[in-house]
Amino acid sequence: MSSLVKDITPPSSGAPMVKAEGVHKSFGLAHILKGIDLEVLPREVFCLIGPSGSGKSTFLRCINHLEKISAGRLYVDGQLVGYRQHGDKLYELKEKEVAAQRRDIGMVFQRFNLFPHMTALENVMEAPVQVKGESKAVARERAQRLLDRVGLGDRTGHYPAQLSGGQQQRVAIARALAMQPKLMLFDEPTSALDPELVGEVLDVMRDLAEDGMTMIVVTHEMGFAREVGDSLVFMDDGVVVESGHPRDVLTNPQHDRTKSFLSKVL
């Protein structure tokens, strides 16, 4: 079985892939994240669960700087996200530098966000050609291989509108992988899917985890979190309430809030 990821970029050291120190985020008066501290190790599948509005998607979007954090520090692979530190001063990164940081971080969205005017193959080729300046031939070859691997090798010429939700999400995963990221972010990747289509997407994610990809997954799929996850964090109201191994947290929650949440979703 060929692997989804040809050669995963080895982490620079044994250091955490993602490190959050007291991360806060406010939108105007709304205080969404209220001090998040956590570490995600390389090759780890890190699951974020919690009720809607708990800030888990916002935190995920801070990791690739789609949202600017209001306080604290956030590092990906040892690099400060969105800023440069000189002495005790922080400098905002320029647009191009932010874009360069994002290249190595793949993201999969709840609503797929495929480019509707491009075929599946063109969607997967777009970023390597436009961002990395890869030749079309090389990009096409890899796109074909990735689409084969997510089981869509015969759908390369289809436009997103001609694909089912599950197929679209698998194309979206292939599109993110085409940039050969060192970290993958999944923002509720199966929440917009019909129940019978959830499995095909989770299967692809499971393969990816087996290949050793570092993954942060915001999800409501407790079964997936239990089987595939290495760590799990339960968030509520902008703080980490409980964390640990998924089996422990899901079967033996310690906090009342975790208990009441799990009793509703399990």
């Binding site: 647009e95 874009a99 993201m107 966000n113 495929l114 480019f115 509707p116 005017h117 777009e126």
Partner: protein, 309 residues
């Protein structure tokens, strides 16, 4: 078990077709008769009018009229191109987070959309009243020499069009889902690349139909350029009628040319819209040309077996 045995033969018997007397739509017959009667009356009135229709075909391909049609066509294309480019720039300015550029863009649209094109054309033509000398540093001349009828028409029509186009472009860009921008940014694309590769191609679907509308409007609005002595169709038609005394007839000639030009561009627009509809629907309907070709090949395949026999 017996159920399945019973059902199988039953299914093979075709159900009895319903034979009912259809509802009579008497109102439709009355409406059709009224409409036809009105059309006949209009036709009779026009044919009995004091208009010399005989001269219309003669002047249709007259050299002066042809040159007028050509002037109308090229001033429309150039003014539209100017409007389109400036419109995109204004739309981006309007949406930028820089308060100065967005206010200037707003003001531009407010002014150029809020005053008549006729006034704007005349203003450009008489701009020498404000700037008697044009001094660009490397180039200096009297404004009256520079502001030819062509330039006045181009600026008057083009700058006015830009105001409308900027609103159309802005609507198109804003119609694209924000998730598209996020997905592009997450892949490491910069703002400019996102706009060019992802947003504008999708915005085109919303931009093209009203732009086609604008262009067809422009073909006709360009007739106002006669006030700045630009030799477009209406000016040429008027020139002829002042000597030939066939006034209304010449307007008929011009109108036929306008109809011809707008028809051609309606067809062009249809094909441009199809181009930007890629991926928007499961399958596009065939073009009239494709339909014709398919019908011909079907017709041919119907004929063939007979030939074989």
């Amino acid at each position: 078990m017996t159920d399945t045995v019973d059902k199988t033969p039953a299914a093979s018997v075709p159900p009895e077709q319903i034979k009912a007397i259809p509802v009579r739509h008497y109102g439709r017959w009355v409406a059709a008769a009224v409409v036809i009667a009105v059309l006949v009356l209009i036709g009779v009135a026009f044919s009995n009018a004091n208009i010399n229709y005989g001269v219309v075909p003669d002047y249709l391909t007259d050299g002066t009229i042809l040159s007028g049609a050509w002037h109308t066509l090229y001033i429309s294309v150039l003014a539209m191109a100017l409007g389109l480019v400036l419109g995109v720039i204004l739309a981006i300015m309007r949406m930028s987070s820089n308060p100065v550029t967005s206010t200037v863009a707003w003001f531009y649209v407010w002014f150029f959309r809020g005053t008549p094109v006729l006034v704007q054309l005349l203003l450009w033509y008489n701009i020498a009243l404000v700037f008697p000398i044009l001094n660009l540093g490397f180039y200096k001349d009297e404004m009256n020499q520079v502001m030819t009828p062509f330039l006045a028409a181009l600026l008057g029509l083009g700058l006015n069009e830009a105001a409308y186009m900027s609103e159309i472009v802005r609507a198109g860009i804003q119609s694209v889902d924000e998730g598209q921008t996020e997905a592009s940014h997450a892949l490491g694309m910069t703002q400019g690349k996102t706009l060019r590769r992802v947003i504008l191609p999708q915005a085109m679907r919303v931009i093209v139909p009203p732009t086609g509308n604008e262009f067809i409007n422009m073909l006709k609005t360009s007739s106002l350029a006669y006030v700045v002595q630009f030799n477009e169709l209406i000016k040429r038609a008027t020139d002829i009628s002042s000597t030939s005394l066939a006034v209304v007839e010449m307007y008929f000639v011009a109108s036929i040319w306008y109809l011809l030009l707008t028809t051609i561009f309606s067809i062009v627009q249809y094909y441009i819209e199809r181009r930007y509809a890629r991926g928007s629907s499961r399958s596009l309907p065939p073009t009239p040309l494709q339909r014709l070709r398919r019908n011909l090949s079907q017709w041919a395949s119907f004929r063939r077996p007979e030939v074989a026999r």
